[in-house]
């Protein structure tokens, strides 16, 4: 395994742009696409079969937490990083409960995305 297969899910164009900017700089990441809503995300998940997802919580009327539960019910070996503006403890706790690997605050921990992905990449490499 040379790359980390990744999809990103966020309804915000601004965030999507920045994520894109960040990820394209990382050669070991194989960014498979970005979804602006959960339907797109489901499609991506099915078609691209990523091993990692960066997932927003609040997307218009949809909740990333619901999607997290959905993923964890169907696919086991996907690592999920929650990236959200809802930084408070209950969200972190719930995400952890539902099986998210990491939880990043959009505004303060955005820069930690590469290092976090790296950890996941390394872990997945170890597992293989």
């Amino acid at each position: 395994m040379k790359t980390l297969k990744l999809i990103t899910v966020d309804d915000s164009q601004v965030i999507a742009d920045h994520v894109s900017f960040l990820l394209t700089k990382l050669p070991w990441i194989e960014w498979l696409g970005h979804a602006y809503n959960l339907d797109e995300a489901r499609l991506l998940l099915k078609e691209k079969q990523p091993s990692a997802i960066i997932l927003d919580i609040q997307m218009k009327e949809e909740s990333g937490l619901d999607f997290l539960a959905e993923i964890k019910d169907t696919i086991k070996d996907v690592d999920v990083i929650m990236l959200s503006n809802h930084e408070s403890e209950p969200y972190r706790d719930r995400s952890r409960e539902l099986g998210a690997k990491f939880f990043l605050d959009k505004s303060t921990e955005f820069e930690s995305i590469p290092s976090t992905l790296r950890i996941i990449y390394n872990q997945q490499k170890m597992r293989k």
């Binding site: 309804d11 965030i15 920045h18 609040q58 209950p90 969200y91 719930r94 505004s107």
Partner: protein, 1206 residues
Amino acid sequence: MINLPKLSIWFVRRPITTALLVLMALLAMTYYITQEYYQLQLRNASREAENIMLSAEKSIQQTIDVSHLVALEASIAINDKGELEDFDSVAKSLIERYPIVNTIQMVPNGVITHCYPMEGNESVIGYDILADSSVSREANRAIERKEMYFAGPLELRQGGMAVVGRIPVYRKGEFWGFSAVIIMLNDLLTNASALANDYNKYRLDFSKVNPNTNEEEFFLGAERFENETVFQSTFLLAGEWTIYLYTDNTKNALAMSIPVAITGIFCSFLFAIVFGLILFKSKQQYREVVHLAEKKIYTFLNRISDGFISLDANWNYIYANKNAGETSGKKSKDLVGNNIWKLFPQLVDQPIYKAYHEAMKAQEFKYFEDYYEPYDIHFEHFIYPSKDGLSVFFRDVTEKKRQEREIYLAEQRLSNHLNQSPLAVIEWDENFTVLKWSPKAQEIFGWTEKEALGKSVEEMELIHQEDKDVVGEVMDELSSRHMGNQSLNRNRTKDGEVIYCQWYNSVVKNDEGDVILIMSLVQNVTESYKDKERLLESTRLLESTQSMADIGSWKLDLTENKLFWSKEMYKIYDVDKDFQPTPQNVAQFHGDTYQDELRKIFESQSENNHTNESKLFTSTGKVKWVRAHIEKLPHTDKIIYLGSLQDITELRLAEEKKSKEQQRKLQQQKVLFELSKLDDQLSFNEKIKHALKQASSVIDCERLSFWILNDDSETLKAEHLYLKSKDEFTQPPPLHRADFPEYFKSIISLKNEGLILANDAHTHEATKEFSEPYLKPNDITSMLDVPIHRAGKCIGVLCHEHVETPRTWTAEEITFAKSIADLVFLMIESEYRKQAEESIRLSEARYRAFIKASKTGAWEYYIDRSEFWCSDEYFEMLGYNKEDIEVTDDVLRPWKTLLHPNDLKGASDKFRAFVENPTDTYENTFRMQHADGHYRWIWSRGYYLKDEFINKDDEKGRVVGSHIDITERKQFEEELKTINIRLRKLSAHLQTVREEERTHIAREIHDELGNQLTGLKLDLSRFKSEIEELESNEDLVQKADEMIEKVVSTITAVRKISSDLRPSILDDLGLKATIEWQAQQFEQRSGIKCDLQIKDLSTKLSKDVNTTVFRIFQESLTNVMRHAKASQVSVKMYESHDMLIMKVTDNGIGISDKRKYNTSSLGLLGMTERAAVLNGTFNIENDDGNGTTATLSIPLNSKDVEEIRK
């Protein structure tokens, strides 16, 4: 038995005073009711005003929230460089979404540069608000506060009154300018006052202290009410406005209470008058009680064996006892009310008619004896006249008369008919036919008794032919002139032998002087001529016969002044044989009357014989009654009188005694009668005293007393003791059973007819224990105690105590004593009855009056008898007359007929259930049809009663109840309920709208703004890293760092605003997580420890429940922080029986009652209202100063909740 207190009688006797007292009491009651009604109205008005105020506040708050959001969103159009991008499209979309916002302005550095919509607002572009002192102050306030502040209301340059909300916008840490929204004042206030305008008695005003003049200015200036109450609420943060709510007092509680007061006063007067009239009537009805007492007395009089009648002044019977009726041959009740002379016309012109009229005319007691031929009866009458009529005792004395006559005749026969005599005795009738023929007569005349009886003198040819003339004269004297005489003549025997006979003839008459028979004593003196010895013998025999009959005979020869006495005479005069009687010395024995009569006889020389009765005084001083017979001896030249004297003392004494007894008996009856007719106005004590005094005089007893035995039969208390010699009443100390056990035992065990007859009280079994302590000190010798019984129980004793000499009580006295005891019993009974009657009458009157005055329908239902009674008002209140209602076999039908069809089953089932198993009270509410066709709400209340007097043990008793028309109250309640539901719906709607807005805004700013800011921050970071690579750009790097920091802090602020508006956790993570998070935040913020216990909470709570519970939880914590001074809060949350329960308990100072009941405290009211929308309850309790517990309970999955929300 009910003892009517004296006080009640006092009231009955003073109707006017009582009516006035009742009036005062009722006026006081009216005052109280009006006061209560007024307070109720006041509370309702206050609650209504508060609801309106709340709605206004909520509306304004909503507008403020929207303004805040719009201004905030508009400021997004400002880019990093402080320039506006795309302002028009942003503003346009905002105004479309929030039409309440009239205009959006951008005011960089205080100069209005952008405006949307621009139309009509061109004039304001370029206007510097910070330069204008009239505006700058309020604009600066927004800067000071760093949050939205509303200026105005002010006159817009572009026209119209409006408020301007400004938020200061900062870019790169510096003040950039304002983002402002303009809201037309009309829009703001129309929404706020929508509810107030629904009523026409409120107006809303809006004021603000002019920052320049410091004067309060009003903006609506609605017309003031003449008299008004003000509620106010101040919005300090948003714009320092004050909302005023004015209530029109002319439509207020006081005005609505006045009709109640007037009605109350009117009713009070009406009732008092009616009550007074009823009492006045009662007073007159006193006479009925008197009648009752009389009836009892008459019952007693029926027991008197003699006839008794009472007649009024018009000769109508008022009363006749049983005997009187029997005597007249009719029933006594048929007599009453009829005129005696019409009923018995045969009495008119009889002596009785005259006697009654005379007694009436003279008004004096009259005694009268009468023989009533049609019935062959003798009557004696005791006539007591009074102004109102006559009372007559009468009795049949026929038997007595007959006996008297027979006795008299027997006596005469005894004295004259000398069967033992040697003389022949012959009795003749007036025609000289033989009635009796003695054996001696047979001896003399030869005719046997059998032959002689019925034969006349002529038939037997007894008279010698030659003596016929002389004898004829003698016979004529006897038969025509009724004179006794003597003759000596020749007679013939049966065999025709001629003999000489001495005849003593006398005439026997009855009381009326009619001749009954002629008696002859015959002596054959034929032999005496030859044999004087035999004559003498005969004379001696005559004397001895006379002696045997106590008859003395004498012969007075006035010519020679000689007096001869038979032997018997000496005995009568108690003189010895040596006494020489002369006409003169005999006079000493007789009274003057006798002497005078003798003299008259002698002077008149009458040949008639005379009989009289008189007293004589014997030589030994004895008084004797004698009957004297005198007659002149005919056929002689001398004046010779023959006489006989009979000692009739014993006979006379017996008669006198009988007469005295008769008199005493009469007196007794008179006393009994008088006592029985005592004036009813007399008090019980006066009556008793009267009875004792009268009885004492009749029975001749020194000490007469009446004692009452108390209920436990332990003590005898003397009511009165009459001392005859002193004519005074005293009261000896009470006697106790412990001291005189035998006496008590005796009177208690005595049955109805028993009494204690102690001729010698010292030895009598029952009374000997009184001997030392009581009898001797009072010198009492004999006692006669009559117990008085009531319902088989001894209640008192009538005591006769005779002093000094021992006395034997006669049967007659005992009977009299019993009669007096009966009379006393009647007095007691009458007293009891009087009190009971009075009490019943009074309570009945009071009951009627209350029903009438209170305008409620009264009813009574007798369960066992299925009887139903109702007052007139029962139907009158429904517009019917009681007479109009048809009475049928089903007693409850009138009620059921008028019941509303929908209430028929429920109401009648409820009544039946109560009747089948009656308990204390019955209550029912139903509709009944009024005569006008409308249905009225009736509140029926009843009490279950069981009176031992009316209902027997096995009976169920009755239900007594009332009907009250509560239609108006019911309508009022319904209206209030409708208003409350409307208010609640509105409130719920406002809450929901507000909550949805908040959710929406919170999401928008959190997500949109958050993402934008994040992007900004990332851009800055990229920018920073780019410039870092260049040299000598340290200033720029530092600047970039600062900017990043500011963006981060902005993000934090935005997140806080969003979370404050509505935490997204609630929608995303549910109630439990939110509560936990909120509690944690609270701990951090306030330093108060928060202990959470959340159990078994369903995850599928609806959004409404979530919101409500969370908001109330939030508010509760805020209250704890602000007021409780607590160090710890404990929160319990659980589900129980489909209810969600939350308890927030602190350990603080406890809520003050003032705060708890302060209805203007919107916090608590808001929480209660929020809970009520979901059909839940919220209440807050003070834990005895050890803190406060707020409890919320909300039903889950309830259909009602859904309904209310619709």
